[in-house]
């Protein structure tokens, strides 16, 4: 409960050499098992292209927010970045050099760690907190003796704001917030330089959520860790991120510095996403949905721009050719062939007067 003291100066992120972690044109395709769900139907094999030409850069000490809705590929991207899944196309680089070629899985795990949404599912229910942390240290050979490991376990617990006396408890005895602290401690055990957090606070209540976000921000300051912070909650992402990439249907559709993205969202999907956040000001109510329609069928993607099926500004050209992710302003890229024309016009919300009775189309 401290006063309003800025925790970091903007110039702290100004230093931009080669990115620490970067992805270049990542693609990832999953096959839908014939039989899953429909055991009696046999047909041609179907594929879902979960990632299409995804490129991101993460610099030292920076927090990159990734936002998007279910099925946009944000979790697949996280799994590829952390090495849990291998991309089919493109390349992941560590300080400019291909990651896969020159490092073992263990080395990679010591650089990049992950924190997941549901700490209860990602902790072994039969291992005490001390055992869970001790295991990580042992596997990576990070402390030679049992005594050294025990000392390091206490230190890790303190780092994430837990009393060392809790270390003999099993995960079920902890609250949701405490469990997420343990997941973070386990990720920190190997001393990573990058932490990928996939919806780390989504399962927590608002008052506890704030505790965990503050903890992550403190760790970033103290340990100089870079974060990839994935969430569907734009308010949370806005608070924690230096830069944000917005994903839709397996692609990055817009990326920019956080303030620029919220001040001047250029892609029609980003605008809809921002307009759909429930504002806590009851005076700013609207009865018009920010975005009509549904996601396209991922096994039969639309031609051209993937947002063209729902875009209020769609023109014929959008359906003919897929737009590229192009620079639109300094450090601001947009995947929309119309962004230039529109941004000068009305930056207001997407809602239109016909929206009231607009029936979603498939």
């Amino acid at each position: 409960m401290s006063a309003a003291v800025p925790t970091r100066a903007p110039e702290a992120i100004a230093d931009r050499g080669a990115p620490m972690l970067s992805a270049h044109g990542l693609g990832k395709r999953f096959e839908i098992a014939s039989g899953a769900g429909m055991p009696l139907r046999r047909g041609p094999r179907r594929h879902v292209q979960a990632l299409r030409d995804v490129s991101i850069e993460l610099h030292r000490g920076e927090t990159l927010g990734i936002v998007g809705e279910s099925g946009c590929g944000k979790s697949t991207l996280a799994r590829c970045l952390s090495g849990l899944d291998a991309p089919d196309a493109g390349e992941i680089r560590w300080q400019g050099r291909p990651m896969a070629a020159e490092s073992s899985a263990l080395e990679r795990a010591r650089r990049v760690q992950m924190v997941f949404q549901d700490p209860y599912a990602s902790l072994n229910p039969r291992m005490t907190l001390a055992q869970a942390l001790d295991e990580a240290l042992l596997v990576h050979g990070l402390a030679a003796t049992r005594a050294e490991r025990a000392e390091r376990v206490d230190e890790l617990l303190l780092t994430v704001g837990l009393a060392p006396r809790l270390k003999h408890l099993l995960p079920h005895a902890l609250s949701g917030g405490q469990r997420q602290r343990i997941s973070i401690a386990r990720a920190l055990a190997v001393g990573p330089q990058v932490l990928i957090a996939d919806e780390p606070v989504s399962a927590l209540d608002a008052s506890i959520q704030a505790q965990i976000i503050n903890l992550l921000e403190e760790l970033r300051e103290r340990l100089q860790i870079a974060f990839v912070f994935i969430s569907h909650d734009l308010n949370v992402v806005r608070h924690i991120s230096d830069r944000i990439a917005v994903m839709y249907f397996g692609q990055v559709v817009e990326s920019a510095d956080t303030d620029a993205l919220f001040a001047q969202p250029a892609h029609p999907y980003t605008r809809a996403l921002l307009a759909a956040i429930p504002q806590t000001d009851p005076a700013r109510r609207s009865l018009v949905p920010a975005l009509a329609g549904e996601l396209p069928d991922p096994t039969a993607p639309p031609r051209g721009c993937s947002f063209s099926t729902r875009c209020p500004w769609v023109v014929e050209a959008c359906r003919a050719q897929e737009p590229a992710l192009l620079g639109h302003a300094p450090r601001h890229a947009v995947r929309c062939s119309n962004a230039e024309a529109r941004v000068g016009g009305s930056p207001g919300p997407i809602a239109t007067s016909e929206g009231e009775d607009r029936v979603p189309t498939r």
Binding site: M1, T7, E69, S207, A210, N235, R238, A275, E294, P360
Partner: protein
Amino acid sequence: MNVAADRSSLLEVEDLRVRFARPGGDLVAVDGVGFRIESGEVFGLVGESGCGKTVTCRSLIRLFGGSAPSAIDGRVRFAGRDLGALSAREWSALRGSEISMIFQDPMTSLNPTMRVGAQIAEGLQRHRALTAQQARAAAIEMLGAVGVPAAERRHHEYPHAFSGGMRQRVLIAIALACRPKLLIADEPTTALDVTVQDQILKLILKLRSDLGMSVLLVTHDIGVVAQTCDRVAVMYAGKIVESGKTAQVVGRPAHPYTRALLAALPAHTRRGVKLRPIDGEPPNLAQPPAGCRFHPRCGFAVEACRAIVPPPVEVEPGHRSACLRTQEIG
């Protein structure tokens, strides 16, 4: 928080107390909750996990799933009738007909082996004595009204063929098919993406105007309340701590818990500035703290807060806060 009986209220809840038997001692999940909902009003019940908001709304229609409470006390009046006196037969005539409910998870609430049209028609045939053909036509019309495209064709499909947002629309169609007077919606958009949540909330508001029903909306999200509800009650540890018009409670919160909850939201804090979480965690309801239940986490607590259970105090007309220090911290 009891409210004097008002003849025009659709739902009146007085001193509701819900007790669950537990090996370590009884747990009072809802402790003296009272509110009323007017005709055509959207009333919000907001609070964090375990505050008793879901138990409250399930007690209103006596549907508990796996774990039924050992005792429900208090008075619930709906459209002038005392719901405590209903027989099992009267309950099944009321539920789904005059009071309907939708839940958080649209997949587990739908029957996966039944076509969606038939699931909508089922209630109409039972409660409104329509023929199969009439019910089918009404089901298709209802699907269209909740924004399911190509309803004529899609009423014939099974739930697995629908997306999460479309399933929630189907559930709303089932709930509203019999034109209930009250819709109880328990976290109806929590499992949905933000743009889909936006669509569903606006659909509920549109149908409220079209059908003139009342809505009890249970949520943990103050943003959802601000965008949807006419009036709201904030619950903490089994009690209502603050209630009033949405603009009063969200815009000028009086209770320290409501204030702390709003202050903890990242939307209310500039980037680069630390968030202000509420220290500690909500109490265990098997052994709630004496006095005000929020006092162990409250920045304004004084000695009296540890001993006296604060009664609701009127802050301004229609706006009440259950805090001993309401005047001082104004």
